[in-house]
């Protein structure tokens, strides 16, 4: 019992210490923005490895998620004779939830884990420390551009995901199952509001991008510089990102759509 309390105390203390470190880290990262923006080449390089390289997985997953939604939605809605509402169903689920959430989860798995491993290995091979000795702030030079790239990429990726998902839903619903083309679009257009739905979805994905990039980069920076440490940090990035994205999604949904 006594040991249990002691362990609990230890865990609490170390989590608070980590929270503190990560907050300082974030502050330091954000302070670097002013140094990065005058050098856009640093940013494009990271936009390439974070955004462009996630493009394929996001678009393919978006297409399939949209197709599955079209199929499942059709079978459920046709029980009520409401197949024309398929467009609304597909678009609303994608724009409000699946687009931002699934693309953030995929982003954490594709780009987040890569960021953690990259930064962790840079730490393990003394590249970060070497930079410090060259009077270059590694957070501003290495972390900030990656953070900005993650933060810019996620809303773009989420929007692409939703758009391609709608196309996939249309392919299955209209092309395969024979839902009326006009009804599909008209119902969708009359129910989906640009401000309410699309902009809120984009805001969600910006928040997710912020949090996932923060977690990934911090875990890499805070890693124990050994092979095992890097592998654990990478796992933690994916797990913690998933928890944070899903938890935040609930909070954001409640705030945006739920009037709680």
């Amino acid at each position: 019992m006594f040991e249990f309390l002691e362990n609990l105390g230890k865990t609490t203390r170390s989590s608070f210490a980590k929270l503190g470190r990560s907050t300082f880290f974030l502050g330091h990262t954000l302070m670097g923005i002013g140094d990065v923006l005058p050098r856009p080449s640093l940013l494009t390089k990271q936009l390439y490895s974070v955004g462009v390289l996630s493009f394929l997985i996001i678009t393919i997953s978006g297409l399939f998620v949209g197709m599955v939604l079209g199929l499942q939605g059709f079978y459920t809605l046709s029980d009520f004779g409401a197949e024309e509402s398929l467009g609304v169903m597909v678009a609303a689920s994608l724009v409000r939830e699946l687009g931002p959430v699934v693309s953030a989860l995929l982003f954490a798995g594709r780009a987040g884990s890569a960021l953690t491993a990259e930064i962790g290995l840079m730490k393990a091979t003394e590249q970060l420390s070497g930079m410090e000795m060259m009077a270059v702030d590694p957070i501003k030079r290495i972390i900030t551009p990656r953070f900005l790239a993650g933060f810019i990429s996620t809303p773009l990726l989420a929007t692409l995901f939703s758009a391609i998902g709608v196309v996939g839903g249309h392919m299955v619903g209209v092309g395969l199952l024979g839902v009326d083309d006009g009804a599909f679009w008209a119902q969708m257009q009359s129910s989906i509001d640009f401000q309410e739905d699309i902009i809120n979805g984009v805001i969600k994905s910006i928040v997710f991008g912020f949090v996932v990039s923060w977690i990934a980069l911090f875990e890499g920076y805070d890693t124990i510089p050994t092979a095992e440490g890097v592998s654990r940090a990478t796992t933690r990035t994916v797990v913690n990102s998933a928890f944070s994205v899903l938890g935040l999604d609930f909070i954001l949904t409640a705030l945006m759509f739920g009037d709680i």
Binding site: S41, T44, K45, L47, Y48, G51, V52, F55, F80, G81, A82, E84, S85, A91, V95, S153, P155, L156, L157, T159, L160, S162, A163, I164, V166, G182, A183, W185, A186, Q187, M188, Q189, S190, I192, D193, F194, D197, I198, V202
Partner: protein, 156 residues
């Protein structure tokens, strides 16, 4: 730094496709597109009750969508509903004695306006800001059920 040009190109493409996707979402998926629908003319109809009709509900002739509802407001004198519709200008040959009815698509579906082209006695067509006189209001399900039950009760 050797391939930084191709990298820049890809990043440019990526950002452009993201913005294009947002544009597509705005125009094709959400209601933003309807505000800017190019060539159209407005016709007006006054209904006793416009029921569950909404702005952006479809307007159709013989089941083909030719436009959408652009505004619904209450006429303060008659306490009736004034519905404005935007009709695509390619459908510019609707006779001026056409009628408008509010129907429901399926039992639970949304409501829409159906235009019944009239015989065209005067030879004139509906123009911008024309008013349709021959209207039939929305069928309110609750009213119908109420009436039906009443009739049943009275019949016994």
């Amino acid at each position: 730094m050797h391939n930084s040009k191709t990298q820049d190109t890809f990043v440019g493409l990526f950002v452009a496709s993201g913005i294009a996707a947002l544009f597509y979402m705005a125009m094709q998926v959400s209601n933003l597109g309807s505000y800017t629908s190019g060539d159209s003319y407005t016709i007006i109809a006054q209904f006793q009750n416009s029921g569950g009709l909404k702005v952006k509900s479809p307007v159709s002739v013989a089941g083909v969508r030719i436009g959408r509802v652009s505004s619904i407001r209450l006429d303060k004198e008659s306490h009736e509903s004034i519905v404005e519709m935007q009709i695509d200008s390619q459908y510019n040959n609707l006779p001026d004695d056409s009628g408008a009815s509010i129907y429901t698509a399926g039992l639970l579906g949304e409501q829409y306006i159906s235009i019944d082209p009239g015989p065209g006695i005067s030879g004139e067509f509906l123009k911008d800001n024309s008013k349709i006189d021959n209207v039939s209001s929305a069928i309110i399900l609750e009213e119908m059920i109420g009436k039906f039950l009443m009739n049943k009760a009275e019949g016994k």
